[in-house]
């Protein structure tokens, strides 16, 4: 088929023009079928719409982009050793999650159900890192099944802070990694790894638990708790969680990191 003939057929497929006598029977059949497929496909996609809450999420993301200078890509490489460390903790977390899933009898029902971890975001720059492999795929599948209405955000640190009423600047300059943990009921808690001590976060309630440094925050409607693990500070943020639930998350991460 010549280019001009193919172009003419393509033009006809995209139009509602009547078919003329210059077309062969085979060409006319092709055009009729492909027109029908095109129209049906377009109509099928009309049923696909943005999930509830996504418009608000986009507005928040644009607000953030508007209020911050464009991130320097170079800063992504500032913490290679730290990222390696957090990645090893992430791997430990995955192992624990999978173990719990495989051996629910060895964990309480709450633990077994709770820590479904979506490790899509290891760095604040979403272009730079995504975990690979079967573990992540399995967890992503779980995430798909349990997707809730709390936005999941590539720039979790800043936006999670914003969603719980905090200034995004609180974590923006010091975030080295972030995770999102999804509970089967759809609630999500962001876990942000920041490069500053717990004491410097400005949380309202610092305390110790089992000899370890913790803090939680309640100002501005925050739902945040933090602890130090292997030299990093882990902050759990989830507006639908109580402070105690957030502390439980951090305790579980600490246990996972120790194994």
């Amino acid at each position: 088929m010549s280019d001009s003939s193919a172009g003419r057929l393509e033009e006809l497929i995209h139009s509602d023009q009547p078919l003329d006598a210059t077309l062969t029977d085979d060409q006319a059949r092709q055009v009729t079928e492909q027109r029908a497929i095109r129209q049906r496909l377009a109509r099928a996609y009309e049923s696909v719409s943005m999930p509830e809450g996504m418009a608000e999420r986009l507005t928040a993301a644009l607000d953030l982009a508007d209020s911050q200078p464009e991130p320097q890509r170079a800063r992504v490489f500032r913490f290679p050793a730290r990222l390696a460390a957090t990645a090893s903790i992430a791997a430990a977390l995955i192992a624990v999650v999978l173990l719990w899933n495989l051996q629910p009898a060895q964990a309480t029902a709450t633990q077994a159900e709770f820590y479904k971890i979506h490790l899509a975001h290891l760095q604040p720059n979403p272009d730079e890192a995504y975990l690979r492999g079967q573990d992540r795929d399995a967890l992503a599948q779980h995430l798909k099944q349990t997707a809730g209405k709390v936005p999941i955000m590539p720039h979790s640190a800043e936006l999670a802070g914003r969603y719980c009423g905090c200034s995004p600047a609180r974590f923006y300059d010091s975030t080295v990694a972030s995770y999102v943990i999804v509970k089967p009921d759809g609630r999500r808690v962001s876990v942000v790894v920041v490069d500053k001590p717990v004491a410097q976060l400005g949380f309202t309630h610092p305390f110790t638990r089992d000899g370890k440094e913790f803090a939680w925050c309640s100002q501005n409607g925050c739902r945040m708790a933090a602890t130090s693990i292997q030299g990093d500070t882990y902050v759990a943020i989830g507006k639908e969680f109580t402070e105690m639930e957030l502390l439980d998350v951090l305790t579980a991460i600490r246990q996972a990191a120790a194994e």
């Binding site: 099928a44 996609y45 049923s47 508007d66 272009d127 992503a140 798909k144």
Partner: protein
């Protein structure tokens, strides 16, 4: 920073189209959301380079496509690829010898999910090309710019995708008892 109000007026009306395109690309709602968000943030930051009066949807689609390709590269899932032209030379074009007596009536038997699934089963580049062509109604020139290939490649991908799409739908029709193996 670009004028936020102007950006919102130009770009945000295309957010749903971006989400649909992202779904066609990655087929995972959570990832599609991330891709759209990243696309719009990038677009806001680059809005100064957008030529007023040009096709904003095509411009956004190009950023989305680049974001998706970057994502694939980072996941290292882009394995060795075979140019579509080679596939065309190597195999049939997906057209069988059957014909549909009434395509519109036949396609009404499929659910939206089935039609979307048929598209989802196409190879990445064919799927994206056909989506941009048939769902978003973009020109072959615009699709070439979005996907970073020659217009001729878009034409061959479109042609190939149409054939495969028809074949997929035909298989569904056979499975549903709406068509015979050879003709309906």
């Amino acid at each position: 920073m670009a004028d936020r109000k102007e950006f919102e007026a130009e770009a945000l009306p295309h957010a749903t189209a971006l989400y649909r395109a992202a779904m066609a690309m990655c087929r995972r709602p959570a990832l599609a959301e991330d891709l759209v968000q990243t696309t719009l943030v990038k677009a806001l930051r680059r809005f100064g380079t957008f030529r007023s009066g040009s096709n904003c949807k095509a411009w956004l689609m190009r950023i989305l496509h680049n974001t998706w390709v970057d994502y694939l590269r980072h996941r290292k899932v882009v394995g060795p690829t075979v140019p579509v032209e080679e596939q065309l030379l190597a195999g049939d074009d997906g057209q069988d010898e059957t014909h549909w007596s009434d395509p519109h009536d036949l396609l009404e038997n499929f659910s939206d999910e089935q039609v979307i699934q048929a598209l989802a089963e196409l190879p990445d580049e064919q799927r994206i090309t056909l989506f941009l062509s048939d769902v978003e109604d973009l020109s072959q020139e615009e699709i070439a710019e979005i996907t970073g290939v020659a217009v001729g490649t878009v034409k061959s991908r479109t042609s190939r995708a149409r054939g495969v799409m028809r074949e997929k739908l035909h298989q569904y029709a056979v499975e549903m008892g709406l068509a015979g193996r050879r003709e309906f």
